[in-house]
Amino acid sequence: MLTHLQRLEAESIDILRETVAECEHPVMLYSIGKDSSVMLHLALKAFYPSKPPFPLLHVDTTWKFREMIAFRDATVARLSLDLIVYVNPEGIRERINPFTHGSALHTDIWKTQGLKQALGHHGFDAAFGGARRDEETSRAKERIFSMRSPQHRWDPKLQRPELWRLYNARKNKGESVRVFPLSNWTELDIWQYIDLNDIPVVPLYFARERPVVERDGTLILVDDERMPLAEGEEPQMRRVRFRTLGCYPLTGAIESDATTLPEIIREMLLSRSSERQGRVIDRDGAASMERKKQEGYF
């Protein structure tokens, strides 16, 4: 009998291969986090000894942690993969940032609009994303092969039935499909798989002394000089790490002593809050993720 991790791995590889076989121009959304690291590792396995037959796409917001960008570039160089970095020119022109524009507009311009532009610009008809069903209630109902209208909209009421291992990736003109190979993985599965397979992850996941300020009960890392500090506000060195990674002003750190993978897993199992809690964007209002997804967010 296969263990649950072996079954999950085999299913993900199956999904990756099926997409490549059925779609003309696939791309993998690479967001540099732990889920992306696992998804990339699975892609390396799925097509071995060939290289993954698609490029990686990072939709950058210019507000990611510096260590994420360094990790991204090192990973791509180490594995000699194709990487496309897309930055929404409108965001640059309008200097969109979470401090003056708020998290909702920031996310919409940089991530949702940026992603739609990048997919349209390159004519990708399939995009892999590392989302998991255990992350959030609206994700729990999304298909593994999730169709998008030519406007990139998701309609939860018009989802195709998905039976057995038979994925229907056929599209009409202009439509595209978002494919989620990690749909059935949980946060614990991800960490365990990283541990078992020695998959490199961004060092921000491990605890270290870092300069942070506390805002509304959330610890924000002062990652560069663009972070506006209030009168008399002084970054403090605290021993912190991150459970999820995103834009540094929107991602809360947790105080922690976990410096190894087993310690991270231990902390996660004993913790009393879920991983998305550190994400400011999920709290923008009731059903906010569902709405964002309908508008084309990953």
Binding site: M1, L2, T3, H4, L5, Q6, R7, L8, E9, A10, E11, I13, D14, R17, E18, V20, A21, K45, A46, F47, Y48, P49, S50, R133, D134, T137, S138, A140, K141, P156, K157, Q159, R160, P161, E162, L163, W164, R165, L166, N168, R170, K171, N172, S183, N184, T186, Q192, P262, I265, R266, L269, L270, S271, R272, S273, S274, Q277, A286, A287, E290
Partner: protein
Amino acid sequence: MAQVSECVARDIGQYLEAHSGKGLLRFITCGSVDDGKSTLIGRLLYDSKMLHEDQLAALEADSKRVGTQGGELDFALLVDGLSAEREQGITIDVAYRFFSTGRRKFIVADTPGHEQYTRNMVTGASTADLAVLLVDARKGILTQTRRHSYLVGLVGIRQVVLAVNKLDLVEYSRETFERIEAQYREFAARIGIENVVCIPISALRGDNVLVPSGNTPWYHGPTLMGQLETVEIAGGAQDGAFRMPVQWVNRPNQDFRGFSGRIVGGTIRPGARVRVLPSARDTTVVRIVTADGDLEQAEAGQSVTLTLADEIDVSRGDVLVAADDPAAVADQFRATVVWMSDEHMLPGRPYLMKIGARTVGVTFTELHYRINVNTLEHVAAKTLDLNEIGVCNLGLDRPVAFDPYAKNRDMGGFIVIDRISNNTVGAGMIEFALRRADNIHWQAIDVDKGARAALKGQKSCILWFTGLSGSGKSTIANIVEKKLHAAGRHTYLLDGDNVRHGLNKDLGFTDFDRVENIRRVGEVARLMADAGLVTLVSFISPFRAERRMARGLAQEGEFLEVFVDTPLEVAEARDPKGLYRKARRGEIRNFTGIDSPYEPPESCEIRIDTTALSAEAAADHIIARLREAGLIG
């Protein structure tokens, strides 16, 4: 889960080792809106400590705001994800939930109990090993319970847990529980579900969910969680013969050619003899390649890449099978089909079918009967509507490898895809291949189409005129035929109205009958072309799919679609037979353009704009095109 926390705190290394060796159980929960299904799943998540503080806080807030438990925790809210559903108070789709215990990881498909959602239940059940059926102890076995059981059995789930819920509302009555149990066992035996465990529970209060309840001292069976943790997952696929649909051909360079896929049956080792289906060539497996190194053996469930000893033709969609226990190959089947689209299934219409990694053309050649899922009666039917289940014959446009569904789900399950919308419109389970195709052979005839046409000094072709009633199809086709005839060509004109007086007089104007109408005319046109004639067909033929079917019967280059393009207003103003007036008055139903759609061609060989061209000029234009195409001299 308190013991898990202690174990994690004490020795994470040991915990991780134990956890990584766990198995996986996938199950579905079914029951009606009121049976407490969402509450039960919420309870399993809550009691197995899978909820975090922020989720609990959200649950408490939501329970107060929209909860149905008078401010107490409403577990159903954890599960009902989408906002539209929360407002309606029902779960409308399939949602997947995850939790694990010290013994197993679980994936739960939460599927709705509402009558119109058979589709979702079948979807959720297709990947499940076990089903938890909920019944309300106050109501007992309902029609719906029977329906769910039938669907569970249909999809091939052999393990059922009957959770008799809300036992707290019948004073934990042993008599009630035992009556329901006896009733259910009798029914389950009738539909072939052998493994049934009945458990008295209260999802709301937690009785017998995780821990044995003090309220049911008379019950000595497992708790629900106990059953889920220990039930033996039937091996099935591992025990069968080797099967692997080829998903992708892996060719990084000239020296390596591997065949990637997921094994769906049996085991494989290097040196094993395998057969490629449907081509039926045998070869030997050389290596089982994975990124973690070559394997000595691989089993059902694993995704691998195989290299083969011989340079034989293998492509995506072929199936590698054990040479000494191969799968069958056929192009006609009997199958049970669940229809999943708002547009009903039409026998005769061409659809696509995906089985394994292969997509082929398929038509439903015969619908034997529909199954009333409430009474299990067989009902005569001409079509299947959304959520209906029927037993049909299917004809494929080429042979595929398969095993009966009962033997191997992945080798016998298929989805049906609409050619136009590309949506998944049905799912089916193969019962057996039909032998008929093997027994009716084509009679080889020495005088062929080319010879017949040559004798007449022409080439066969089919001119297919399509357009609205009153568009001018028949007028133009008639002039074309007259001109060809005058020029010494051998022709025949099949006219819609005329054919409906004879060959097709048994057909009406429903979608089903329209499809059959076109199928018959397409076949007759093919025979006429085979006789060497220039064949003209003048039929409204409103659906693209059927015109494509007619085109598929003809040889490449022999079929010319003539779209007589007349706007509805113009055709209606002409109204040569007074039919539009009758249709507008409601005296004729299903009239094309009025209450039945006309799908204009997306690409056709000839388009005639009758608002710009007279019938005479249109006919000349068509004849000129025939000359250009080299079909007439």
